[in-house]
C-alpha cells in the first residue's frame, strides 16, 4: 500500500501509471550492476521513480576522470567507494527507498549470490567478462536483464528475458576488446536513461520492451537504428544443449 506521502510525491506519474503501477515500483527489487556512466543516470531515475529496493554493485573507487559522466559522484567523493557515494546521493534524493551497496567485482563465482531474487537487473557494467558472468547468473535465476553499453558517441541497449529472447552471449558471442574507452558524458546519460526507462516499463507493464531488438544509438546525428535479434540455438550460455556450459567464460 502507498502512503499519503507517496501518493503525493508520485502524483504526476500515478496519473499515468496508476496507483497499481506505483505499487509495483515500490515492491520491486532492482539490481544495478555498475555505478558508473550508465549506472548513475539509471539509478537516479529509478530512485526518484520510487523503485522500492535498489542493490548497487561496483568495486571501484571514484576517480577524478569519472566526473565527466558519473553524475552521482562529485569532487568530494574522489577516493571513496562508488557504491557508498551512490547510496548517499540516492538516499538523499529519495529517503523512502531501501538501498544496498555491494563493493565487489562481479565474477562467475559470486554473480548468482549477488543478484539473489531481484525482479530485474540493469547491466551497466564496463567490461564483457563481468557482463557474461551477470548474463549467466540472470539466465540461471530467470531474471530479466537490461543490457546497455557505450563508447564515444555510440551506444546500444537491449532487454534480455531468459528463455524468451536472445541472451547477451547470443548477441555478442565474442567480447569486444578495449578497456579504457573514450566517452562523452551525454552518451552514457542517454543509454543509462533508456535502461531506466526500459526498467520502468518492465516493472509497471507499460509500453513495448526492447525484446530481441538491439537499439543502436548514434550520437553523431542523434539517429536510432534497430537490429532484430534471435536466440542462438547453440549459444554457450542459453543454448538448449549447452545450458551452463559457458560458465568458464564468465571469468575475468
Amino acid at each position: 500500500m502507498l502512503t499519503e506521502r507517496e501518493i503525493h510525491r508520485y502524483s504526476r506519474q500515478i496519473a499515468f501509471i496508476g496507483e497499481e503501477g506505483q505499487e509495483r515500483l515500490k515492491a520491486a527489487h532492482v539490481v544495478l550492476a555498475g555505478a558508473g556512466g550508465l549506472g548513475c543516470p539509471a539509478a537516479t531515475y529509478l530512485a526518484v521513480a520510487g523503485v522500492g529496493r535498489l542493490t548497487i554493485i561496483d568495486s571501484d573507487k571514484v576517480e577524478m576522470t569519472n566526473l565527466n559522466r558519473q553524475i552521482l559522484h562529485w569532487e568530494q567523493d574522489i577516493g571513496r567507494n562508488k557504491t557508498v557515494s551512490a547510496r548517499e546521493k540516492l538516499g538523499a534524493m529519495n529517503p523512502d527507498l531501501f538501498i544496498e551497496d555491494v563493493c565487489e567485482v562481479i565474477t562467475g563465482q559470486n554473480a548468482s549470490a549477488l543478484i539473489g531474487r531481484a525482479a530485474l537487473i540493469i547491466d551497466a557494467l564496463d567490461n564483457f567478462p563481468a557482463r557474461y558472468a551477470l548474463n549467466l547468473a540472470a539466465l540461471e535465476h530467470g531474471i530479466p536483464c537490461i543490457h546497455g553499453a557505450v563508447s564515444g558517441y555510440d551506444g546500444h541497449i537491449t532487454t534480455v528475458i531468459p528463455g524468451e529472447t536472445a541472451c547477451l552471449q547470443c548477441i555478442f558471442p565474442d567480447p569486444p576488446g578495449g578497456s579504457e574507452f573514450p566517452i562523452i558524458g551525454t552518451t552514457a546519460g542517454i543509454i543509462g536513461l533508456m535502461q531506466a526507462h526500459e526498467a520502468i516499463k518492465f516493472l509497471t507493464g507499460g509500453g513495448t520492451l526492447l525484446k530481441n531488438r538491439l537499439l543502436i544509438w548514434d550520437g553523431r546525428d542523434s539517429s536510432v537504428t534497430f537490429l532484430d535479434l534471435e536466440r542462438d540455438p547453440v549459444c554457450r550460455a542459453c543454448g538448449e544443449c549447452t545450458q551452463g556450459a559457458g560458465s568458464e567464460r564468465g571469468e575475468p
Partner: protein, 92 residues
C-alpha cells in the same frame, strides 16, 4: 551486382553511413569485407586483426538476418542485398 552496406558506430565514421558496392556476380560475404578492408588502413584495422582474420566481435547482418561466425565464409550475396556491420561498444 550492387550490394548496400550499412555501417554503424566506429565503422560508420570510417566508411560512411550507407555505401553501395559493385561486386562480381556470385561474390560472398568475405569478398565484400575484403573490398571494404581495402578502402583504407583504418577500415582494414576495424575489420581484421593482425593475422588478417575478421575480428570476432563484429556483428554482421545480411538482409536484417544475423550471420553467425561459422556461416560467414559460406554466405553468397545477391543483387540488392543489404549488409549491416556493427562493431559493438563495450563500455559503461
Amino acid at each position: 551486382m550492387k550490394i548496400t552496406v550499412r555501417a554503424f558506430a566506429r565503422f560508420r565514421e570510417v566508411v560512411g553511413d550507407v555505401t553501395a558496392l559493385d561486386l562480381p556476380e556470385g561474390s560472398g560475404l568475405p569478398a565484400l569485407l575484403a573490398a571494404l578492408a581495402s578502402r583504407s588502413d583504418e577500415s582494414r584495422d576495424l575489420l581484421v586483426d593482425e593475422q588478417g582474420t575478421i575480428r570476432e566481435h563484429i556483428i554482421f547482418m545480411v538482409n536484417r538476418k544475423r550471420v553467425s561466425r561459422s556461416a560467414l565464409d559460406s554466405i553468397i550475396l545477391a543483387e540488392g542485398d543489404e549488409v549491416a556491420i556493427y562493431p559493438p561498444v563495450a563500455g559503461g
